[in-house]
Amino acid sequence: MTDVLIVASEQGNLPSQNTLELLGAARRLADATQGRVKAVVLGAAPTPLTAGLFACGADQVFRAEHPLLAGRQGDAYVAALAQIAAQAAPQVILLADDSCGKEVAPRLAHRLNAGMVTEVLAVEADGPAMLFRRQVYGGRAIATLAAQRFPVVATVKPRSMAPAAEQAGRRGEEIAVTLSLDPSLARTRLVQKVAEEVRGVKLENARVVVSGGRGLKGPEPFKQLEELAQLLKGAVGASRAATDAGWVPASWQVGQTRKTVSPDLYIAVGISGATQHLAGMTGSKTIVAINTDPDAPIFKVAHLGIVGDYKALLPKFIEKCRELT
């Protein structure tokens, strides 16, 4: 019997997309082993998430509010989850592999003396064994790992698991937890949050992503990519070479280190297609490459490509797209 605890987050008063994917994975695991799905909702104030979590597969929801949990302060978050985990006693704890999950999961696993797997693409119970799949070597290989110790704390790579289906009217048990968190716990303080201006859609959610790399040779040409992205109602991404050069913000980076995207259309301009970049975009439905080098690895994953200088290609391509859309 595998009880799975998922760490929920909200998006406009509803379970976030990441949370739905965690619930999907948790429900499948629990069903395969006659276990239960438990969800934990943490915050400074109550959120109306519980009903949505029940509807999407949770059997129990652990709710805890505490002023220290505002802004997902790491120390408080880890301490809170450790307390909830002690009460819920799951075999598996699933978190989204986002900025918060990446920091919290290893720390929680350390405190619980638990097993740990990060960036999980798939999880399955195979008899008594629990198997996890993840990429290693910058996406060059896939490893299958068997948990040797329980509970096991795992972060799930966004957009890799089927989300839970909603069953209206499904109910569960709500458990309010009183946390004991001392203010001295919080050893880091958020001074300022600077959100990059998003014109149009967010990169992670975009149906169309237009990305640029070192081949653009400067920040200027990204204006053309933005024009194209706007036209196709998409977002602009970049390779690490472009973000490291400071041409565009670091948060635009697609790949192993930062964002995973899986749009309907991904257009890579002046990007060679290093495995670490591919790790963040090969889930895209249609991949288009524009590159001067016919041997660039990006053409190995692209569905459509043009060999040539983007400078000569983009203006006409943009013009034609405007005409067609």
């Binding site: 920091e103 960036e119 910058g138 001074v191 053409f299």
Partner: protein, 266 residues
Amino acid sequence: MHIIVCIKQIIDPEIPADQFKLDPNSMRQLRGGLSLVISAYDQNALEVALQLREKVGGKVTALCLGESGAMGAIKSALGMGVDDGFLVSDQPLLESDPFGVAHVLAKAIQKIGVPDLVLTGCVSGDTGDKVMGPLLAEALGLPCVTFVSKVEVKDGKALVRRIVEDGYELVEAAFPLAVSIISDDSNVPRYSKLRDIMAAAKKQVPTWKAADLGLEGARVGVGAARLQVQDVSIPQRESKCEILDGETPEERAEGLALRLRELKVI
């Protein structure tokens, strides 16, 4: 200010796909004749440390757990300008899982003396768990901030720039502190000076074994691993790229737009 930077020596992660091979027995990458490097983000971490030393003074130490050949990584770090280095090299320790590695590094850091700042890369270029910064923080009882591109000192505290999904955060914390480093244009690794490379070659680097750190078998090595690798495989990708041709770039560009329309992608 004393800064310890944890560096991992890995096989060059940017080799072409056809040079990447797995050893079916160990299930790890085959070295072959490939070159070894300091893992990408650890070089950014070294740069962050050196810039901080230039601003506020102090000392930078490089620390590595690796094979005896990882002395090369320490020497490269010394060549970049760090003040001293320590290598932990003992075969059984190399088969540790991330908790084991964190335990070894924490013991070594305690032996060196817990510094004001412990830096790691945000992700290694080989196994890439993205966990070592937070694990070390826990093992040493330090606060931690992950995915940081810049560290400044303000009023005796650290003020760090943390890259998040939709921008960045400025986070304040008291020293001592553990931070994992991501790259941006402020921490592009510097080139080594010939003078520093020569000095590095002569510098003594202590090498420790498990016994020097008082490590117990129950917490390190393959026996302590909380995960077992069952399989590692290289996914085969079938290339099926349709290259658009045409006399002129304009024709090809138009062709691409038309094709996308045909496929109902735009």
